[in-house]
Structures are given as structure tokens and as C-alpha cells.
Amino acid sequence: MTDPAKTNATATIMLDRSDVRVKHETGVGGAVRAFVDRVRSGDLGSLPVVVGLIIIWTVFASLNPIFLSSNNLVNLLFDCSTVGVIALGIVCVLMVGEIDLSVGSISGFASAVVGTLWVNQGWPVVLAILAAVAVGGLIGSIYALLFNRLGMPSFVSTLSGLLAVLGMQLYILGSTGSINLPYGSAMVNFGQMLVMPRPLAHIVAALPGIIILLTGIRTIAHRKGANLSAPSLGSVVVRAAAITIVLELIVLYLNQDRGVPWMFGLFVGLVMLMNYALTRTQWGRSMTAVGGNREAARRAGINVKGIYTSAFVLCSMLAALGGVLAASRLASASQQAGTGDVNLNAIAAAVIGGTSLFGGRGNAYSALLGIIVIQSIANGLTLLDLSSSLRYMITGAVLAIAVIVDSLARRSRVSHGRA
């Protein structure tokens, strides 16, 4: 005969709490303790880049107070958006453990395509932009074809792409060398002036908190219903409130000047969309799996070639879109577009933000955080009237530090038994 009290006790043990060896933290204090534990074991997440950003901003603000003015920060956000979109594409290829070195050339080529089709040929601007992004996708699918069919390492195929696409850019720009985009057109306004109306910016800034709260409450209900442990309502509310307060303060500060650029809104929207795709869909799961262990992914029945193709195509399309945004920012499509440090800034942004160069680890927000770091350095040094030679050296040093922090943290993760 079974003891009814005992049976009852067994039934109420939650499915994921039956192992007595595992320590489980609960409540808000528990969440903080778990976070500290995680950081100590080397699972740093976005912590280094946030700390780095605070240091960089403190230094520049003390050297030149203008740096932290609303006006300068709005400019910073405009500048972030163009290369940030390109960095978002780099996150995609890095997730599957590949690289695209030609994103700068693709962005320059895309701006040249828009300039030629729109200004010279008289196409509607929307069609010209779509054509440029489609051309980017075509280039990406060529890389995927070379990689999947011929086994050409992406490092080499995109390096040759870097030259070939730059050649195409120079070819279609022809002897004039640059095409000016008309001032006052919607596209140039979007890249230079358009900001969200103030109330709308505040509403948009409240959205992430609301989404966190609603999905959090739904997750708690689902997990309780399925007899699984669930985070406490308190911790969800605290998280949502903290994020909302921070975002609203930022918007309030930016609204003292022009406000939040629509272009930055587009960039953040793309980042959030990519984050959802990478973490909450089968496609994102497959991307992570292919980056972590390609053969295991293949044996699990994943279409590995399709995943590689999607990564290359998406990266090139985002690079092309970034090029279009850059053209609208500069109001021109020139031979210099996409050359110089665009390529490496995009890759450095993804890596500084915390996406691994070796595949299988990373997230969409690394593009956002990384590009803010890089643009802050560029912007701060420009304000100090330092030459680009110093800017290159300092950006290089920051990239080196980011990679060093990542590899030290990786070593610590291995010894603490985390992936």
C-alpha cells in the first residue's frame, strides 16, 4: 500500500527539478546570483562590450564634453545604422563558421547600382533599391554555389569577390566616378534627417518592455501548466521595467535634439527580427547547429547546404542594403563607397559584440553593440581632431582586446563545463 502523502509529494516534484544535485536559484536575488556565477565561469555574454563602451564613453566625454551631447549622439546613431546593417549580415555567416570579406565591395556596388538605375536610368527609387538588394543576393548565392558545389573556402571566394565586385562598381560608375543623389528626395532625407516624431519614439521605446512582459507571463503559464519550473513573475516584471526605463531615458535625451533617426529604427528593427529568427525558429537552430558541428547537423537530417546558402545570401543582401543606406547618408554613389575600413569595421563590430569567429556562438545584438563601440571610437577621435591613422590603430587595438577577452572567456568556459 502506498502512502498517499508520499505519492502526492512525488507528483508535485517538477519535471526539471527532480535531480537533487542541481542547485536552482529562485526569485530576483537568485537571478542576480545566477548571473554572477555565470560571469565567473566565463559565460560573459554582452558584459565585456558594455563595460568597454562605458570606459570609451567616459574617456571621450572627459576629453570633449560635446561627445555626449544629444546632437552628437543622434549623429552617432545615423552613422551606426549603415555599417551596422552590414555587420548584421556578418553575424549570419559567422554563425555557420564562415566569413564574407567582400561585404564592403558589395555595399559599394549596391550604392552604385542604385545611383545608376535611379538617377541615370530614371527607375523609380524603390525598384532601384530592390534591384540593388537582389543583386547582393545573387552575389551571395554565387559564393554559396562555390562553397557547396566546389568546396571553395569562403575566405578565398569572398576575397576574390572583394576584387571582382569592386571592379564591377568602378565599371558601372564609368568615367564620371560618382553620381550625386538629389537632395530633398525621400531616400536622401531618410539617410540624413528623418527622425521619429517624439511621442512615437516614446511609444516604440516602450514596446520591448511590453513584449518581454507579455511573453514572460505566457511562458510562466505554459511552463507551470506543463509541470516545469518557471521564472518568478517578479523577475520578469523587474527585467521589463529596467529595460523600459533605460530605453525611455535614452529616447528622452535624444529627443532634446532632433530625436531618434528612422534609419536607426530600421537597423534596430532588423536586429530584433534577426534575433527572433536565430533564437526562436528552426532555421536559427539549424544555423547554430551547423556552426557548432556540421557533421552532426547533417546526420540530424538538416539541409546543411541550404543553411549555408541562406547564410551567404542573407549576408550579401544585408551588405547591399547597408550600401544603399550609406549612399542615402552621403547623398552620393561614388568610387570610394564601401572601400577603406567599411569591410573590417563590419566584421570587427560583429566580433567585438560577442559573435565567435569559429561558428556556433553569437547573437544578433552583437552587431548593434559592436557597431556602437566602433562608431563611438571613430566619432570621438574625429571630435578630438585626430587623424584617421590614429583611428585605425585604436580600432585595431580594441578589436584585438575583444578577441583576447573572448578566447580567455572560452578557456574559462571549458574548465567550468560550459559550451
Binding site: L15, D16, D19, R21, V22, T219, H222, R223, G225, A226, N227, L228, R280, T281, Q282, W283, R285, S286, T288, A289, G291, G292, N293, E295, A296, A297, R298, R299, A300, G301, I302, N303, G360, R361, V414, G417, R418, A419
Partner: protein, 273 residues
């Protein structure tokens, strides 16, 4: 559990039938003219020395390698498996020796890899519940299903790999060295599990170097040697017969070693008399 082997089990319908399967890697013939039948509700053990072609055969059946020649008949139909997903869709699940798990993903993600519920908005709760049920059926000792595979031990990884193969309710399960990395209790659990799978009417192919495990669960023992069939035995075959078939000679290092021990034993016995 071994007494079953004394009465040959009524063979179910033929699930898998291989005829003349060959596979070569360049100049090396890894498999030559392999014939193999597996019936529903039957455990077939594949044994052989290192390099006999056991793992190659399993990978061929899993769609990882494509045979150079020969036919594979599955449930009465001739099939060609061009990739692993084709094999999975037919109902052939495989637990590989190199476990083929993604170390950077957590346990739930690995169990459901390629078979996620609700592809456009992953149903994490349902997947976690199903994972716990599968793992509890295996009496698994996994501390949490939300930790990456990298932090699990070899035995725990083995359990995750087996749990994953059961997810799809396959008709045939291939196990490549399922007990090699396991502790005593876990080995017994896996052997129990293999019997449970067989009693549910599935065909099982199991590779093992451990003759004790093989005898414990196998209905037939198929010996491979240098990529060829080298005899089919029942579990009550003597160790000598099996080892002879595996090494290809009645006079082999194992029998010589046994003989030497026997002689020593006799001498000691003689000395005492």
C-alpha cells in the same frame, strides 16, 4: 533473459534486407558483398574486429555513405538513401559511435535537432516536456536539459543520443557501440531498453565489442571480417566459435592465450595432485 535464445523467436516480417552491398573508398574495399536480414522484433548483433567494416555498414544504412553497389530493401521496397534525412524519413534511426551531437546546443535542442516543433515559433515548453519523458524512460541521470552538451559526461551524452533516436518512433534502430562509454547500471539500462524496443516490434542492429552484452540481448550474431560476411551465429554459440569467426582462424591470439592459461591451470592442478 538469455533463455529466449533457446527457443528461436517467431520471426516478424522482414524489415531490412541487404543483398550484395559493397562500398569502396578509393582502392580500399571497406565492404564486399554483404548480405544481411533484419526482421521486426529482432535484435541482430554485428560483431567483428577493428576494420571489419561494421561502422561503414551502419553509416551506409544511415545514409551517411552511399553503397558502391548492391540493393537495400526496406519494408519490401528497394530504397536508395541519398542523405541522412532520407534514412530518418524511412524510419531508420541511428545512434552513432561518434555521437553526432552539437556541443554548443542544449539537451532539448539536440534531441529535437532537425525535428523542432512549430518551426516558425519553437514550442520550447512542449519540447522540454517530451525530452524529460524520453530521458526518464531511459532512467537518465541528466541534471538539466537546459545545459549545453559540452558540460555532460560521455555516458550522459550516450543517453541523449539514444533518446534522440527514439523521438521519431523508428522501425529500425542502429546502435553503434551503445554501451562502450557507459557505467554498469547504465549499460544494464540500455540493454533493458534494447529489449523494450524489440518487444515493441522494432528491428534493432547493434554493434558491440562486448560479447557479454551481445549474448545478453542478441537474437542472431552476424560476424563481419575484412568487409565480408563471416558467418551467422545464435547467442548460445561458444566463445571459441565466435572468436574464431571474428579473427578468421581457429588458432588465434585469443585461443592461444586461453590455451596457455589452461595449461598453466593444469600444471598447477597436476602439481597439487
Amino acid at each position: 533473459m538469455t533463455d529466449m535464445s533457446n527457443h528461436p523467436r517467431p520471426a516478424g516480417e522482414l524489415v531490412l534486407s541487404l543483398r550484395g552491398i559493397s562500398k569502396s573508398f578509393g582502392a580500399v574495399s571497406a565492404l564486399t558483398d554483404i548480405d544481411l536480414d533484419v526482421h521486426a522484433g529482432e535484435v541482430v548483433a554485428l560483431v567483428g574486429d577493428n576494420g571489419a567494416g561494421k561502422s561503414t555498414l551502419v553509416k551506409t544504412l544511415a545514409g551517411v555513405h552511399q553503397p558502391t553497389s548492391g540493393t537495400i530493401t526496406f519494408c519490401g521496397e528497394t530504397v536508395t538513401m541519398t542523405d541522412p534525412s532520407a534514412a530518418l524519413n524511412l524510419g531508420i534511426a541511428t545512434v552513432f559511435q561518434d555521437l553526432a551531437l552539437c556541443e554548443n546546443l542544449d539537451v532539448v535542442a539536440n534531441i529535437f535537432l532537425g525535428r523542432e516543433l512549430k518551426p516558425l515559433q519553437l514550442d520550447e515548453t512542449a519540447m522540454e516536456v517530451r525530452s524529460w519523458k524520453l530521458l526518464n524512460e531511459l532512467s537518465a541521470r541528466i541534471p538539466s536539459v537546459r545545459i549545453p552538451i559540452a558540460s555532460l559526461s560521455g555516458g550522459q551524452r550516450q543517453t541523449v543520443a539514444i533518446a534522440r533516436s527514439l523521438l521519431l518512433e523508428p522501425k529500425l534502430i542502429l546502435l553503434d557501440e551503445p554501451t562502450a562509454a557507459l557505467g554498469v547500471a547504465q549499460t544494464a539500462e540500455v540493454l533493458n531498453l534494447i529489449e523494450r524496443v524489440r518487444d515493441r516490434g522494432l528491428g534493432v542492429i547493434m554493434i558491440s565489442h562486448n560479447m557479454e552484452d551481445v549474448r545478453a540481448v542478441a537474437d542472431r550474431i552476424v560476424v563481419l571480417r575484412l568487409g565480408r560476411n563471416n558467418g551467422v551465429f545464435t547467442p548460445d554459440a561458444s566463445n571459441q566459435e565466435l572468436v574464431g569467426a571474428i579473427t578468421g582462424a581457429a588458432d588465434n591470439s585469443v585461443s592461444r592465450r586461453a590455451g596457455r592459461r589452461q595449461t598453466q591451470h593444469d600444471i598447477t592442478e597436476g602439481g597439487q595432485a
